[in-house]
């Protein structure tokens, strides 16, 4: 490999990128914008769930029950609905997601010491949200129920109400949240966003860059020149890796300064490890660009190949251990999962090379493999 030729190719490519001002600025703007957008917009917290109440009872107890929900920060009260048909229409139109139906005689049953039933309708079109909502409803209902039982017990046994409550709840749960003590979404989200964005942007840039040359026909200059395959690929990819490296810093700064995510690990490990990941994703772009002939195909193939795995199979939204069997295998085959370990480890857990050498090694091997395949498939004497 002749360094001078590599530099010449890299210089030519760099100039081409820089002269296309729009493309050059978008190469930096798009990742930053994605970070901003996802960071503010992709909230997995389920809060302010709009709900309505159908109260057939109109007793003190039914109002008390409704107020437990109205006062909760998880629910947002949108008013009383007349009957079940009204409620159904509200859920159908998406105006509310939950409706509590309190039957007649609710207060009377409780006052007489008999159990009472409530019906809750939940909009299930978003299953995960429905699950979480069910969790909240059950918790609030349990608290109300417990208070009612405690009152009955205190009347029967002569204990004071708080004492009865304490007797009925002998076991306390002391939960400790690890890695993300405030359980706030953005801390766990921002590091993974770095993973997603670095999965999307480098392959996209690379694939477009290489295929452009093919589609324009300027690649014949390369075919006819004495530049070797390796020199061409190295020089061609270097500027894109450089752009992505700047983006690494940019994204890291956004995470630390804007989202105030604590960075517990060491930058000396994080930056080189991220560079390996970027090489890996650049390799994906290289592979795509060798396989396709048109830029349209390059764009769409990279989007489909990178977007879905990066979002769904990386641990961004669902932890890898909770994936189904098939998806679990898919996740193991993608580089995103390994980098998620690294970026989460560096930011939230503060672990370094000692416990993260394994994913790093996998990424490095992955990158080598991709480049080897890309090198092998790229030919200076194409058949067609």
């Amino acid at each position: 490999m002749n360094l001078q030729r590599v530099l010449a190719i890299a210089g030519k490519e760099w100039r081409e990128i820089v002269r296309d001002r729009l493309f050059f600025s978008l190469a930096f703007v798009v990742p930053a914008l994605l970070m901003l957008l996802f960071g503010y917009g992709l909230s997995l917290d389920v809060e302010n769930i709009p709900f309505a109440v159908v109260d057939h009872d109109h007793s003190a107890a039914s109002r008390d029950y409704a107020y437990r929900f109205i006062d909760s920060r998880y629910f947002q009260f949108r008013g009383y609905a007349g009957d079940e048909r009204d409620a159904g229409r509200l859920i159908g139109s998406g105006a509310v997601r939950v409706v509590l139906v309190i039957p007649p005689q609710f207060g009377k049953s409780l006052a007489q010491g008999r159990p009472a039933a409530i019906q809750t309708l939940v909009d299930g079109s978003f299953p995960s949200r429905a699950m979480t909502t069910k969790g909240y409803v059950t918790a609030i209902n349990a608290a109300f129920s417990l208070a009612a039982v405690a009152q009955a017990v205190s009347q029967a046994s002569g204990l004071s109400q708080p004492e009865a409550l304490a007797q009925l709840t002998p076991i306390a749960l002391e939960s400790r949240y690890l890695y993300n003590q405030s359980v706030s979404s953005i801390w766990s989200l921002a590091p993974k966003l770095i993973m997603v964005i670095l999965m999307l942007s480098p392959p996209f840039l690379t694939a477009l860059g290489v295929v452009r040359e093919k589609e324009n026909g300027s690649i014949f200059n390369i075919y006819a020149s004495n530049v070797s395959r390796g020199e061409f690929l190295a020089g061609k990819l270097a500027p894109y890796v450089a752009i992505s490296s700047v983006n690494i810093l940019l994204l890291w700064l956004l995470a630390v300064l804007l989202y105030q995510v604590p960075f517990k690990g060491s930058l000396l490990f994080f930056l080189p490890a991220t560079l390996v990941y970027v090489l890996c994703t650049t390799g994906i772009g290289l592979l795509v660009s060798v396989l396709v002939r048109t830029q349209v195909a390059a764009m769409i193939v990279t989007m489909v190949v990178t977007m879905i795995p990066a979002v769904l199979y990386s641990g961004l939204i669902i932890p890898i251990v909770s994936l189904g069997a098939g998806a679990h295998v898919v996740a193991q085959l993608m580089p995103a999962m390994y980098y998620t370990d690294i970026v989460v480890g560096c930011f939230l857990k503060g672990v370094g090379l000692m416990s993260l050498w394994r994913p790093l090694a996998v990424l490095a091997a992955y990158a080598c493999l991709l480049f080897a395949i890309g090198y092998h498939l790229f030919s200076k004497r194409p058949n067609s």
Binding site: P127, T132, F204
Partner: protein, 383 residues
């Protein structure tokens, strides 16, 4: 007059055939369109679940009493999965560190004795909250199990038998989940993925088809032809819309309905008509990108700039009520937001034209605006 219409129609047909041929000859692209609408949707719908399932749980039982065993045995699938016991704190922490366990439950010594004597006691739980939602769900389920067990043992001790429970003023809450009674994640993920893919293609394909002509210079040929700018643009959009609708049909009839048993409650005809309208209007956004961009690389970046907010502000990932106020306003500008309402409304809720009127109006309004503006910009380029 009639001859004019015939001429316009023939020009349209010729251009349509040209576009379809051009697309059909890009084999790799075609293969990927098929892949995206079938295998990709299958993957998204089959493996991915956003709910707490089989959370890997480790147990540290320092009591070994009947009570502790009884309590721990209540941590059952589908929410929890017992992965065995750990001895030391360090081992438990290491398991959490390496992601082998999501929670560790510790029962203190004397737990059973304290419970029998009516003394307050506690269970410690360590949760990996790297995913905060799942962390929350795990905690709340554990809380439920533990307080239920505490209540039962307290009632037993106080001499109120378990069969006397119906004489207590407990509130039973019957939760009914509509539209998706078993909370099948595959229904949601599958349909959402199909809409996302359709959106990606709806923006990218027409934009690329247009910019490619510019980049290669073939646009000059089109300009010197008797075609009007609209006559150039319209067949492009129509042909791509047709291709995307075929893709949607493919995924609906080959993947979503047979494999995942998605119930189609509403009218499929209405769904396809509205999908066509959606794709058509979204193509207007791609034309924006195409008019600004001078080459495909620029068009690609611009498309991402348009697509990413559209996909993420659609409400598929984050419900509008969880967004900050200013983003919620922006959501109403994303056509996908309305299309999502429409698609879920027709497919899962069985809604008809009357229920969907606001969404259709919103989508149509944005579409007309965007498409009209795109056309205006495009036309100006030729003058």
């Amino acid at each position: 007059m009639k001859a004019e219409w015939q001429l316009a129609w023939r020009r349209f047909a010729v251009m349509l055939v040209k576009e379809l041929k051009q697309l059909g000859r890009d084999r790799v692209l075609l293969a990927f369109i098929v892949y995206a609408f079938t295998a990709d949707i299958f993957l998204a719908a089959s493996g991915v679940s956003l709910s707490l399932q089989h959370a890997a749980t480790l147990v540290q039982d320092m009591d070994h009493s009947a009570q502790s065993r009884e309590l721990l045995s209540r941590f059952q699938p589908p929410y929890f999965r017992m992965d065995g016991a750990v001895g030391q704190d360090a081992a438990a922490l290491a398991a959490l560190d390496q992601g082998r366990a999501m929670l560790v439950l510790s029962v203190p010594p004397q737990f059973g004795k304290q419970l029998a004597n009516g003394q307050p006691t506690s269970i410690a739980m360590q949760v990996d909250t790297t995913n905060s939602v799942l962390g929350f769900l795990a905690t709340s389920h554990a809380q439920q199990i533990i307080s239920q067990y505490g209540l039962e043992s307290a009632m037993q001790r106080l001499g109120i038998g378990a069969n006397a429970a119906r004489d207590l003023p407990q509130v039973q809450n019957n939760i009914r989940v509509w539209y998706n009674p078993n909370q099948e994640d595959s229904w949601f993920m599958g349909v959402a993925e199909m809409l996302n893919i359709a959106t990606v293609f709806a923006v990218l394909l027409p934009a690329a088809a247009m910019v490619r002509e510019k980049e290669r210079g073939t646009v000059e040929q089109l300009i010197v032809s008797p075609l009007s700018p609209f006559g150039i643009l319209f067949p492009k959009v129509v042909s791509m819309t047709g291709v995307i609708l075929c893709g949607v049909a493919l995924s609906l009839f080959l993947v979503l309905i047979p494999v995942f048993a998605i119930p189609v409650k509403g009218s499929l005809l209405l769904f396809f008509v509205l999908s066509g309208l959606y794709v058509f209007t979204t193509a207007g956004l791609g034309l924006f990108a195409a008019t600004i961009a001078r080459n495909l690389a620029q068009a690609g970046m611009l498309s991402i700039l348009i697509l990413a907010p559209m996909l993420f502000l659609s409400g598929a990932w984050t419900p509008p009520e969880a967004m900050p106020q200013w983003l919620r306003g922006l959501m109403y500008a994303s056509p996908l937001h309305y299309y999502l309402d429409i698609a879920f409304g027709i497919l899962l809720k069985g809604q008809g034209l009357a229920d969907l009127q606001p969404a259709i109006l919103g989508m149509g309004g944005i579409g007309v605006l965007v498409f009209g503006f795109g056309l205006l910009l495009f036309r100006r380029q030729f003058d």
